[in-house]
Symmetry: C2
DNA sequence: TCTTTTAAGTCAATTGTCTTGACTTATTTG
DNA sequence: CAAATAAGTCAAGACAATTGACTTAAAAGA
């Protein structure tokens, strides 16, 4: 009698879940607003003064917040503002790219403390993982040398690599990294480091970074278009990263566009036209070139005819993708970021003007329809490191629910 | 000293929030899985047997669940399954369309008990609201005649109308209903009925209906393309409807597409080609024709050359939009539903084959990439009615948080 | 200067919900 | 007929937020 029917249900919650949520709410409020007094926190979170006092006391004991000098601001007892302690938590971020791997260590407020990278020789994941574990170990010990207590306060290891994930075969596709995807990477990293590990695609990581320390800070609805070796979008919806059913939401680099009617109804994927890979091809830069970023920067500063051509094509496709994303998501803003030089990002945005008409063109906008975000090779690694911080400290539905592994 | 700085923060929660969540979790589990015993509920929700017992007892007192005959299924004491009581709650749904308004009453499980419609004469919202309030009143008393206790168990009034909302001017645009949007409709309806009122656009409502009783039942990631007089998409992300910053997420009817290179780089909005409005133009049916649905059904059953032409154009644009939505959202499935006859929906889906390649084409799919959903003129009104039920009984983050109006 | 008003923050008791562990009930298995 | 198994109850306990009175510290007004 195989009556072990799968019953689907949302988890319930309990006192512990509520309490954990309230702690997160406090940290989040301090992150968003800067230092706040207990009374202010109570008003903002709709909790009672007493509750806030208890939680703040606990957070202070845990080294996550600290008091500032009290400030007089009118009648009544002066308030004692509390602020986040940057040294309250640390996280590691790992970016695995096609030819290079990068590791970053950040603290609770997203300040970068360590960054190291290594070239990834061809040879697939078996060899690669060993190199990567060494890199992580090296970053970790550098961090511990600088801040002995950091090890104890590490909340996790975020991993970012190019998507899409879990697709069928296609091992030779240079745009993906299929061999890495069928490898038990997360398990290897988890056992190798003893840390909690979570995976995002690189665009999602870039969005996570934008939300922690970049242009999306404090925004609940933002789309980050990430221009790297490939192209993707990180979706921040309702204040959280949206990943879709299989973690592939936002893989707009693979989107086709209807082209000339008749003969060739659909043109190549967006990232064949708008990505550093396509630019490298034009500039005849090897994708494995360690000085790729600098070369592109120089090329963008003084664009020759070919670069202008690329820029025109890329910005035209992006211009239209921006229109679509605005229409589909109704976001507060769209951010163009990347592992690309700021010059290039800025020029692309320039070339996209005027933006296509859309609902986003309303007159009452608070934010620009499109704006530049983080633009450097470390953006994805930073986002990878931001993920464990967000997972540990941001208020989110899943954090309230009882998990499989004890409350 | 204007020190009334706005402090942004997520609300905290308390015992009451946790308890409310757990009640919702129970109702949701019974809705998804059918009748379940207390022990099964405890396992599924990770709550203790005792907690489940208490909550079930309370829900039974409130008339939301009831026990079935106990069933023996192996060793041990027989289980007593509990099921939702359809008569446990009721909700009203109002659809305001361009030329007609519809009201539906549903019960807790989404069964339709009353449906009434009325033609909306031109004359704008002032006159319209009076007619609509009469319609609601009429439906309400029909409901009360059939089920005297329904009035006491009404959880709200859902309203659906064509978007987009809150756009600048453009009063003459026949595709929108601008004059209705600058009118304090919700306030009028709330005071006129004494019920909680909430607004969605029609595509969002259709998606809400699909989730309560249609093809999206139990799905957490689904996109509903709604083909009505206009065209839009309802986005179900993480099990909840996503509305974007201004409630306009999913307004894909307004999306442009890159067309022939050169002269006309961008073609008309999607809904100018794929909507009942465009079909009506071709068939020379007045959009206000009360027998519009039947006429379209007949036209779709025996398509003439013009209809075939329309079908070809519409399905081609939709085919490509499906590709985009799959790429952007990575959903479990896409549902094509509408206030359109099922024949038409089916034919459109047929014409869209073969679907464009995308990440969704993986071999391990559990659900079809695209499938038909509700296809009748009452779909939106049903979705409007489904919204208050979902708001009152579905587990969601916002339901846990302390609200502005007391816990 | 002195009193009143206002606001921040604490104290101690209370409340409400989930949890714990032992117990009862009812059925199948051997 | 005893042992095993599972559903469900009982009563006490744990825990976090709440409540209302209180203390502290400043500004405002007389």
């Amino acid at each position: 009698m195989n009556d072990a029917r799968v019953i689907r249900a949302t988890s319930g919650t309990n006192l512990g879940g509520a309490s954990a949520h309230n702690r997160r709410v406090m940290v989040d409020a301090l992150r968003l607003n800067g230092a706040l007094s207990r009374a202010e926190l109570a008003r903002a979170t709709r909790l009672t003064k007493q509750t806030v006092s208890n939680i703040i006391e606990e957070l202070e004991r845990d080294g996550l917040v600290r008091s500032q000098a009290s400030v007089r601001k009118g009648r009544g007892q002066p308030a004692t503002p509390y602020e986040l302690v940057p040294e309250g938590a640390y996280a590691l971020g790992l970016q695995i790219d096609r030819y290079v791997s990068r590791v970053i260590a950040v603290n609770l407020v997203g300040e970068v403390l360590v960054q190291k990278s290594v070239e990834l020789p061809p040879g697939g994941p078996e060899k690669g993982v060993r190199i990567i574990l060494d890199l992580i170990e090296s970053a970790r010990s550098t961090l511990s040398d600088a801040v002995p207590e950091a090890e104890r306060r590490l909340v996790g290891l975020g991993v970012a690599m190019p998507g899409p994930f879990g697709i069928d075969g296609d091992d030779d596709n240079q745009w993906m990294m299929a061999s890495w995807q069928n490898y038990p990477l997360l398990e290897m990293l988890a056992t190798g480091t003893g840390l909690e590990v979570a995976l995002q695609n690189d665009a999602a990581a870039a969005a996570t970074a934008e939300r922690l320390v970049g242009s999306a800070h404090g925004l609940d609805h933002a789309i980050c278009i990430y221009l790297g070796y490939g192209l993707g979008a990180g979706l921040i919806l309702n204040g959280e990263l949206y990943s879709g059913q299989n973690g592939n939401a936002g893989e707009i680099g693979m989107s086709l566009a209807p082209g000339e009617a008749g003969a060739r109804p659909f043109v190549a994927p967006l990232e064949h036209q708008a990505s550093l890979a396509s630019l490298c091809k034009i500039l005849d830069i090897a994708p494995s070139d360690p000085r790729l970023f600098d070369k592109i920067e120089r090329a963008a500063e003084k664009p020759n005819e070919q670069v202008e051509e690329w820029m025109k094509g890329a910005s035209e496709r992006l211009r239209w993708m921006v229109h679509l994303l605005e229409t589909v998501f109704d976001p507060q803003t769209i951010i163009l970021c990347g592992g690309a030089p700021r010059v290039l990002i800025d020029q692309l945005i320039d070339h996209m003007q005027p933006l296509l008409p859309s609902l986003a063109a309303r007159s009452s906008r608070a934010l620009p329809r499109i704006q530049p975000g983080l633009a450097n090779p470390w953006a994805v690694a930073l986002g990878a490191a931001a993920e464990p911080i967000a997972r540990a400290f941001d208020p989110r539905f899943s954090a309230i629910l009882k998990s499989r592994f004890g409350a």
